[in-house]
Structure formats: C-alpha cells, structure tokens
C-alpha cells in the first residue's frame, strides 16, 4: 500500500529557532495537508495545498508558518521562531479519494 513518509520522526529545537518538517506525499496525489496534534488534544487542520498554492488555512496558520513544494516529491512545513506552544505532533496528508496520513513528526520546543 502506498505511504506518506515524514522526516524526521522526532525533532528537538530551541525556542526561537526555525524548523523544517518534511513530507513525501503519495506520488500521484495532487492535494496536500498539514495537521497538528498537541499532546492529549485533538488533531487540528493547519493548511491545505493544491497546484502550488495554499487553498485553505486555519487561524493557527499565521505568518510564523509556511509551506512549500520545492520539487516534484517533497512537501515541507517551515515554522519560524518556534515557541514552546508549537510542541506537538505534526501530520502530513495527501489525498487521492481519501486523505492518507504519514506517521508524523514529533516537534519538541525547549
């Protein structure tokens, strides 16, 4: 079965640093998403991306966040000037007939 791949599985960073979370979506999918799950809370939508532009974003997705598809395979989430409250599990998804999710990147901001 095709998979969405996310790297790294765990990222530790200091407050104020920039991080880039990487995702390789399923190869023939055209729609891409980022979600996050703060420990003990529900999975929350961050952003959707289609045709090399953002199609929808949540109120969480402010100027601190950006997404990019730098080549034909990768889809990245950049978080600038990380804060303690950015600590969460971040999930990438890509959509064919349904959304397929990666295993997630656990971001720990110290």
């Amino acid at each position: 079965e095709p998979e969405v791949t996310q790297t790294p599985s765990h990222q530790v960073t200091q407050m104020g640093q920039e991080v880039i979370l990487r995702c390789v979506p399923i190869s023939n999918h055209l729609y891409f998403y980022w979600y996050r799950q703060i420990l003990g809370q529900k999975v929350e939508f961050l952003v959707s991306f289609y045709n090399n532009e953002i199609s929808e974003k949540s109120e969480i997705f402010d100027d601190q966040f950006s997404v990019e598809r730098p080549d034909g395979s990768n889809f990245t989430l950049k978080i600038r000037s990380t804060k303690l409250e950015d600590s969460a599990m971040y999930f990438c998804a890509s959509r064919g007939n349904i959304q397929y999710f990666g295993a997630g990147t656990r971001l720990s901001v110290l």
């Binding site: 969405v4 996310q6 729609y31 998403y33 979600y35 809370q41 529900k42 999975v43 929350e44 939508f45 959707s48 199609s55 929808e56 949540s58 999930f91 998804a93 959509r95 349904i98 959304q99 397929y100 999710f101 990666g102 295993a103 997630g104």
Partner: protein, 113 residues
C-alpha cells in the same frame, strides 16, 4: 463551522463482544464522514467513509459504521472485538467544497482478553 463530538474518552470491551464507538457531528450541507485509527507511533489509518448512499458503511478489519442523519451520528461498530483492535479511534467530518477534515477528540478502545 463544522465539529465532531466523541463523547467517550475510553471504551473497554471484552474480546469477542460487540463494540460501539460513538460519534456525532455538525456541518453545513451534506456531510462526508470518516473513521481513522491510530496505533502507537503510527499515523492515522483510514478505516471507512460515508459520502452518500447506503447508511451502513463497511470498512477495513471488519468494522462498519451507521450514518443516522436525524441524529447526526456516525457510530463505529464491530460485531466481535479482537485484542488487536485496541487503539485510538478518531471520527472526522468534511463537507463538499471544504476538504479539510475536522476531527473529534478521539476514543481509546481497549479490548480485554
């Protein structure tokens, strides 16, 4: 705005017994409803979806869900639980033209041998 409620944080079921994990939703327009399962250190895995048609939807691993429009519910069911069904289950909703998924808070299902 769309929302999902999973009223039970934890459900315990004896192996071999039927199980139900509850979900209610709120969305404008026709709902697209999903169940995903999360095993430890794994991503969200798709179980089943309701878009239109028959109210009883069959999915992976013997699970099924019943769409009830009047009660705005989409409960997950399985006739005979297995220990390997123990996991965290998420209900989610989206609507046509708005593809983002809105998730519930999740229900931890524990099957007792």
């Amino acid at each position: 705005a769309q929302s999902v409620a999973q009223p039970e944080d934890q459900v315990n079921v004896a192996e071999g017994n039927p199980l139900t994990v509850k979900c209610t939703y709120s969305v404008s327009g026709n709902p697209y409803l999903f169940w995903y399962v999360q095993y430890p250190n794994r991503g969200l895995q798709f179980l089943l979806k309701y878009i239109t048609g028959d109210n009883l939807v069959k999915g992976s691993y013997g699970f099924e869900a019943e769409f009830n429009k009047s009660q705005t519910s989409f409960h997950l069911k399985k006739p005979s639980a297995l220990v390997s069904d123990s996991a965290l289950y998420f209900c989610a909703v989206s609507n046509f033209g708005n593809e983002k998924l809105t998730f519930g808070t999740g229900t931890r299902l524990t099957i007792i041998p």
